[in-house]
């Protein structure tokens, strides 16, 4: 009983953390799965999403939008929702530009795509620094989802519950989109056999552009949702891209449910080590990755992927 009292809160916390890791990895998974491109700019696009949200939520958000007085007179919940809708569109636009640059690397050694997106990550991070400066920014959240809630004598973050629920919603919506819509079917088909999709008369170029835009928009959504937890600073993307990569490889490249399960596993391991062996909390996800990949090279639910070429 004592063990459960001690362990219970950390299991709950690990579960919430796992859902957030899964959310961070979703866009990354989509782009790797369909386009076989390891988008190292995912983290920078994650950061860009957070910064655009800051500009849309706070008058001193750095983009001189303060002139939009009436807009900033609206309540924070309204602006937060606007940020959740608009920032992903802005970042998707940047993602589309990046995809156009990537086209010359398709069908070549994956290293070319890797290098290009790595360069893009550096450029985006520096642009963020130029526009918003190097200092920390703060994304206010609506009062209804901020603060703490007492459960069993312990205070939990209300926002963290919101973020976890949001992550569940995003996972379900993405799954429904992939399973139940024509575009979802095309995306899956593109991931399975892109040449056949092209042979069937599908505009593969447009499909890839849309998938990339969708994946980067998901990165932005994750950036906004994580901003109140991880903070907003130019290099925050590094904090996102590394766990996202771990989650994808652990789950199996291209596997939707693999990514979700891996996210939960990573969250649980990081959460528990964070409580009981804190010095190991950051390295624990890598140890988990090593163990799983040693036993099962393609990750938990993976099939043959770009990483094996």
């Amino acid at each position: 009983m004592d063990l459960m009292v001690t362990l219970g809160p950390h299991l709950l916390n690990g579960l919430a953390l796992g859902l957030l890791f899964a959310l961070v990895a979703l866009g990354f998974m989509l782009i790797i799965g369909v386009m076989e491109v390891i988008n190292l700019a995912h983290g920078s696009l994650f950061a860009l999403g957070a910064y655009v949200a800051v500009a849309l939520v706070t008058p001193e958000g750095g983009l001189r939008l303060a002139a939009l007085g009436p807009y900033f007179a609206t309540p924070i919940p309204m602006r937060f929702v606007v940020a959740l809708l608009v920032a992903p569109i802005v970042v998707a636009g940047v993602g589309m530009g990046l995809e156009v640059c990537l086209r010359r690397t398709y069908g070549r050694d994956p290293l070319y795509g890797l290098l290009l997106t790595f360069g893009a990550a550096l450029v985006i991070e520096e642009l963020i620094r130029l526009v918003w400066g190097p200092t920390e920014r703060f994304l206010p959240v609506p009062p209804s989802i901020s603060g703490g809630i007492s459960l069993g004598g312990l205070i939990y973050s209300v926002y963290r519950f919101f973020a976890s629920a949001f992550a569940v919603g995003m996972i379900v919506l993405l799954w429904l989109f992939l399973q139940r819509t024509r575009y979802g079917a095309l995306i899956k088909a593109g991931a399975h056999d892109s040449e056949m999709v092209r042979a069937l008369g599908i505009n593969l170029k447009r499909l890839r552009l849309l998938v990339f835009a969708f994946g980067t928009a998901l990165a932005a959504v994750a950036g906004i949702v994580m901003a109140p937890i991880w903070g907003v600073r130019p290099h925050v993307g590094v904090d996102a891209v590394v766990p996202a990569f771990v989650v994808i490889v652990l789950g199996g490249v291209g596997s939707f449910w693999g990514a979700v399960i891996a996210g939960l596993l990573v969250g649980m391991v990081v959460g528990l080590t964070g409580a009981f062996a804190t010095a190991w909390s950051l390295v624990s996800m890598y140890i988990l990755l090593i163990v799983v990949v040693t036993v099962r090279g393609r990750g938990l639910l993976g099939k043959k992927s770009v990483l094996e070429k």
Partner: protein, 427 residues
């Protein structure tokens, strides 16, 4: 009468004597001709990226402003000051590389700048090898003026031990004896927590647990749950940089800033400014505040705002202050020494007293000749519930005389290299 010495012999011997004067025969000592018309080149070793990029750029604003003000007064010893900068990336290996390059290739006369203690220690080692006087402006690990002290290195910020000494006694009496330590897993965190443990237990505290926080931690929820489960009276946190920002955000959001009591060692201004007064939590130390009611403070704030109108940090804080004061004292030390000779400058600094008026602090300060640590007023502060304006984040609760918070341990552990084993130079 014909002389026994031919012109050729005279020239050869002259060259030998000149060469010996210039290059040796000493093992270390290279004596360079003083170039009086040449500007004095300062190497600024500030972080521009990594965990402490923000603070690094803030202290750089301080050092540059002090250099510009010195030049506006005509320079020092009739020479202008110039500077070069390089990003030390909050990484000790980069700090070493930058210091080595600045000393050997750029031939800087002095090195100034540090936030992260690992970087400061790395630069200090290189500086000692060449005898280059180095000012650690903002790194506050007690080891910097303790076991890692150097003859050439001078430490300008208050140390973790100074802040713990200022706070511990009062915190034990006010909040309670059950203490928990949160320790950032690097040099400053370990040494600050070690000092806090020793000092707090001396005043009757019991350390119930110590949690190591890895550098780069972005999720403090497991740690904060554990803190709640342990129910300590006081959490003494030695967590810095981005890790501290993330932790603070989480603590304030949960309302855990009220109970337990938090002792946050030192709160660097660039890490808090812009996040709103409500982000400030716990009791913490600082060496300076822009609202201190002392002569010179408002003028410095105005000069800062005129020089740096575009920075997001609207008013100077402790990190800027340390950079600014350190650079200013370097200029004055060169003037007192009458030379840029490193040993003369070191001697001009050791034991040097600085008036409270000049320092814009409440008490006189001095440079400890045994540790090269600036002994200065240490302020304890908390969130300001009645701010005068949007920059007025802190409520200064008390200030301690330098003598009262002097770190006796660093005196025991610091072993400065003798003068004669420190290479001499003059640029």
């Amino acid at each position: 009468m014909k002389s026994g010495i031919s012109r050729r012999t005279l020239l050869v011997n002259g060259a030998l004597v000149g060469g010996a004067t210039f290059f040796g025969p000493w093992r270390h000592h290279h004596v360079y001709a003083q170039k009086r018309d040449k500007p004095i080149l300062i190497g600024l070793t500030h972080d521009a990226s990594g965990q402490f990029a923000n603070s690094g750029q803030d202290e750089q604003r301080g050092t540059i402003m002090a250099i510009e003000e010195a030049n506006a007064r005509g320079g020092v010893l009739g020479r202008k000051l110039t500077y070069i900068t390089a990003d030390t990336e909050t990484t000790p290996a980069t700090g070493s590389r930058v210091a080595e390059r600045m000393i050997t290739r750029n031939e800087v006369a002095f090195l100034v700048g540090a936030i992260q203690s690992g970087v400061a220690n790395a630069i200090g080692q290189v500086a000692q090898k060449y005898g280059c006087v180095y000012f650690n402006t903002n790194s506050s690990s007690p080891t910097e003026s303790g076991k890692d002290c150097k003859r050439v290195k001078f430490v300008w910020d208050g140390s973790g031990a100074n802040f713990a000494l200022a706070a511990a006694d009062n915190a034990v009496r006010t909040f309670g004896k059950r203490w928990m330590l949160l320790t950032n897993d690097y040099v400053w965190g370990h040494n600050t927590s070690k000092a806090t443990r020793e000092i707090a237990t001396k005043f009757g505290a019991q350390i119930t647990d110590e949690i190591l926080v890895p550098v780069g931690t972005r999720d403090f929820s497991p740690i904060l749950l554990k803190v709640q489960q342990a129910k300590p009276d006081v959490v003494a946190a030695a967590v810095g940089g981005d890790d501290f920002k993330v932790m603070r955000q989480e603590v304030v959001k949960l309302g855990l800033d009220q109970k337990p009591a938090w002792l946050n060692n030192q709160q660097d201004w660039p890490d808090i400014y812009g996040l709103g007064i409500e982000s400030v939590f716990g009791v913490f130390g600082t060496t300076w505040y822009h609202k201190l009611p002392l002569p010179g403070v408002p003028e410095l704030v105005k000069r800062y705002q005129a020089r740096w109108p575009d920075t997001r940090i609207d008013v100077p804080g402790n990190v800027f202050y340390n950079g600014y004061m350190a650079m200013g004292e370097l200029v004055r030390a060169i003037e007192r020494a009458g030379s840029t000779n490193n040993i003369k400058v070191i001697k001009a600094l050791e034991g040097h007293k600085m008036s409270a008026k000049d320092r814009m602090q409440h008490h006189d300060a001095w440079i400890d000749p045994e540790t090269h640590h600036v002994q200065q007023t240490v302020y304890l502060a908390a969130r300001n519930e009645k701010p005068a304006d949007k920059t007025d984040y802190f409520r200064i609760m008390s200030w301690s005389e330098p003598d009262k918070v002097r770190d006796a341990d660093s005196v025991k552990t610091c072993k400065l290299a003798p003068y004669d084993s420190t290479p001499t130079y003059e640029q």
